[in-house]
């Protein structure tokens, strides 16, 4: 990828369309994860235009079958499209929970009816999903969940509480893990789709240290769910969830190497010396190391992507990439704060520019990268066991 050649084929097509249709006002502005919920984005007129154009082009779910709202592109063209978007700081507006997590899971495990019912709305960015997995006190030990789901003959009856349900307050639907057998741990869990408008579903936002509230508590009080909304078989939801979590980790590590280069900001805020070097040697050394790791990380994503295209499985890399992605993104947020100095500490109000406020919020939010989607520690445990084949620690189960 030297960028020196003129593009041809699908790359040329994608580039032309993106240049004609992507609103420049949005460049490099998404994802803004600490407030990356639909309600925020939809308040932006350009964002709406962009979503609708992408929906019409079917490039919000470029690799999905046409019958389910996708464009049916092959993996190579999907990658080219992503590269061309990254080139100009564009993004996929459909890339929310439904698209990154539930979509691929339904494609693998859903019935034809479930796929037809749910995928087109996701591909068009019209139906918002949330993930009802975590429960209070469970933390990383997901399988200890307690939300009960009982078979009432013509429907399921669900009773319990979820937490860390991202975007639940704006979501139309929820995919949830529920306990259908209390005598087993993993083997007593099922995977259920719940309409958020069902009576008995209530949500309450949790305020985070970054000031945003896209996480919620979700209360399920005698919620009646149609029998058809079970994905896979009863008590086999844990396997589906593990697969879905792979998609999640994968989507979380994507884009971590993104964002505009810190170089212009660094030159502006730190100044340059007589040799044209950034004037503060200590910060400069850290900026260089960061730039190198970002490039190596992005080369790694490209390499693994090319391998997958050629049939080399990339699953073993997923937990490692998740942690590397958190690292580079947190490092970037740290450096941004360092560059801004006193101007990077603003919470609201006058005295601070929009980017300055955003840098502070983003820095606070970045600490979550190594917690959600499976913590840093959990990823390391998984990688030690599955990727490296190291022996099990004698953990009491």
């Amino acid at each position: 990828m030297t960028g020196s050649d003129a593009p041809a084929g699908f790359r040329a097509e994608a580039r032309a369309w993106l240049e004609a249709n992507f609103p420049p006002s949005l460049a490099y502005r998404n994802p803004v994860p600490y407030q990356n919920d639909a309600a925020f984005a939809e308040a932006d007129a350009d964002w709406q235009v962009w979503r609708d154009r992408m929906a019409a082009q079917r490039w919000g779910a470029p690799g999905w079958p046409v019958v389910y709202g996708g464009a049916g592109l092959d993996a190579g063209d999907v990658r080219i499209l992503a590269e061309e978007m990254a080139r100009i700081g564009a993004f996929n507006p459909m890339k929310m929970t439904g698209y990154t997590m539930l979509g691929p899971t339904l494609l693998e495990y859903g019935t034809d009816a479930q796929k037809a019912a749910h995928l087109p709305g996701i591909a068009a960015g019209r139906v918002r999903w949330c993930q009802g997995f975590s429960e209070p006190g469970a933390g990383s030990d997901l399988a200890s969940l307690q939300t009960r789901c009982t078979d009432e003959g013509d429907h399921w009856l669900v009773e319990g509480q979820k937490v860390w349900t991202s975007g639940a307050n704006h979501a139309d639907w929820c995919f949830a893990l529920v306990r259908t057998d209390t005598s087993a741990k993993q083997r007593g869990i099922s995977f259920l789709l719940i309409d958020m408008t069902t009576p008995g579903v209530e949500t309450r936002p949790i305020t985070l240290i970054s000031g945003s509230s896209h996480f919620c508590e979700m209360f399920l009080n005698a919620v009646r769910v149609p029998k058809d909304n079970l994905v896979g078989r009863i008590n086999e939801g844990w396997g589906i969830a593990k697969r879905l979590l792979q998609f999640e980790r994968d989507s979380l590590s994507e884009g971590r190497g993104g964002g505009a280069s810190l170089l212009p900001l660094a030159r502006e805020r730190l100044g340059v010396d007589a040799q044209g070097r950034i004037a503060e040697p200590d910060v400069r050394a850290r900026l260089i190391r960061h730039a190198m790791r970002v490039q190596a990380y992005n080369l790694t994503r490209a390499r693994i992507g090319a391998g997958i295209k050629a049939g080399i499985p990339g699953d073993a890399m997923v937990p490692v990439l998740k942690n590397l992605g958190s690292d580079v993104a947190q490092d970037r947020a740290d450096l941004m704060l360092e560059l801004l100095g006193e101007q990077g500490l603003g919470w609201t109000g006058q005295g601070y520019g929009e980017t300055e406020i955003e840098a502070a919020r983003q820095w606070l939010h970045s600490r979550a990268f190594s917690i959600y989607g499976g913590s840093y520690e959990i990823q390391n445990n998984i990688a030690a066991k599955r990727t490296l084949g190291l022996p099990d620690a004698p953990v009491r189960k």
Partner: protein, 376 residues
């Protein structure tokens, strides 16, 4: 812990007890909620002043106890534990230092006794909306008749909304460290206005605007040639005090995390029994040990007026910044999701880490300064 005199040990114990009783983290939350214009709880500060803390560095002839930097460090460390917001550092240490080191007898007599009682707050107005670099001050002070005219902006000014007077660092000549003058300016001086800044740690800070503020020659602290050196002295005292406060914050964040590791269960075992977390905890503890040594050495060097004080201060501030950042991050990480919520204390320590680190030079600034002072 340093080997303390009996008096010092008493002072520390009194501070620890007061903080636990009167100023736990809930007091900070209450202050943030009530949002007084000062950016700290005036009743708490009055309480501190009544115990003599506001005057702890004020010479005895001006009503203080002149207890020294190790002493004030002991109090600041305890305040840091629960993130107490107060002008003890900005005024009681930095303001007092500016006056003690740079002011004439008249100004000292006018301000020091009132600072010691807590009636007056005098703070340093240094930063100019960017990265800390005292040698690059731009706010212009130009000669006008027998006095000076100052024009420009200062921000952030810690505790600047509560201040009764400012020590304003200004450019009087050339560039670099040599052309800096310090001016003592009352907050009601014509042409001076201020607005509050909302920062992530919720403490009081102001944006100060000087619109042709004129002052007489007697407003200048030290001389026009020595202002830069004087500023360094004042700053080093503030940095050492801040490092002590940061050490307290880091120590408390660490202890809270260790407690959590000993009570929280995951996968059927206490998370503190996971070896990877244990080793990281020991690593943090080692950093706290090193930081404490540096902080105590810096404070003692200031008390002894020793020539290596600037290096030791940069060592202390750099390590305090690195350690507080690291411990606060691990506090969030080891608490997991709950540590990211506004209702948990971890976020308060994290936010304070960022502000305290940036104040009067980040770790990066002080590593570089240490290197220059050491000849690297």
């Amino acid at each position: 812990m340093a080997v303390l005199t009996e008096e010092q040990a008493l002072l520390r114990d009194m501070a620890a007890e007061w903080v636990a009783d009167r100023a736990p983290v809930t007091a900070l939350r209450r202050m943030l909620h009530e949002a007084p214009g000062t950016g700290y709880d005036p009743a708490l500060f009055a309480d501190m002043a009544a115990m003599g803390w506001a005057g702890i560095l004020v010479p005895e002839e001006h009503g203080g106890s002149d207890f020294g930097f190790v002493g004030v460090g002991l109090i600041l460390e305890q305040l840091g534990r629960t993130l107490v917001a107060s002008p003890l550092l900005s005024s009681g240490l930095v303001g007092v230092s500016a006056l003690s080191l740079g002011a004439g007898a008249v100004q000292q007599a006018a301000w020091l006794p009132r600072i010691a009682t807590g009636e007056a707050v005098v703070v340093l107005a240094l930063e100019e909306e960017g990265r800390h670099d005292p040698s690059r001050i731009a706010l212009a002070a130009t000669r006008e008749g027998e006095g000076w005219r100052l024009v420009g902006v200062k921000a952030p000014v810690p505790d600047g909304m509560a201040a009764d007077a400012f020590v304003v660092a200004a450019r009087v000549a050339g560039d670099g460290r040599d052309g800096i003058g310090l001016f003592l300016i009352p907050s009601d001086a014509p042409g001076l206005s201020r607005e509050p800044l909302a920062r992530i740690d919720g403490r009081g800070a102001a944006r100060l605007r000087l619109d042709r503020v004129t002052v007489g020659d007697d407003a200048m602290l030290g001389g026009a040639e020595t202002g830069g050196a004087l500023l360094d002295h004042i700053l080093d005292r503030g940095r050492a005090g801040l490092a002590a406060e940061m050490l307290g914050s880091a120590t408390q964040a660490f202890e809270t995390t260790i407690d959590y590791l000993g009570t929280r269960t995951q996968f059927g075992q206490l998370i503190g029994s996971f070896q990877a977390l244990q080793h990281r905890a020991v690593g943090m503890y080692a950093e706290l040990v090193l930081t404490r040594s540096a902080v105590e050495a810096a404070l003692a060097a200031l008390d002894a007026d020793s020539a290596d004080a600037p290096m030791l201060v940069s060592l202390a501030k750099a390590l305090a910044g690195e350690t507080l950042h690291r411990v606060a991050r691990e506090m969030v990480q080891m608490h997991g999701g709950i540590g990211m919520t506004e209702e948990h204390d971890a976020g308060l320590y994290l936010k304070r880490a960022a502000v305290a680190d940036a104040t009067w030079g980040s770790s990066a600034f002080h590593r570089e300064r240490y290197g220059r002072l050491a000849g690297y």
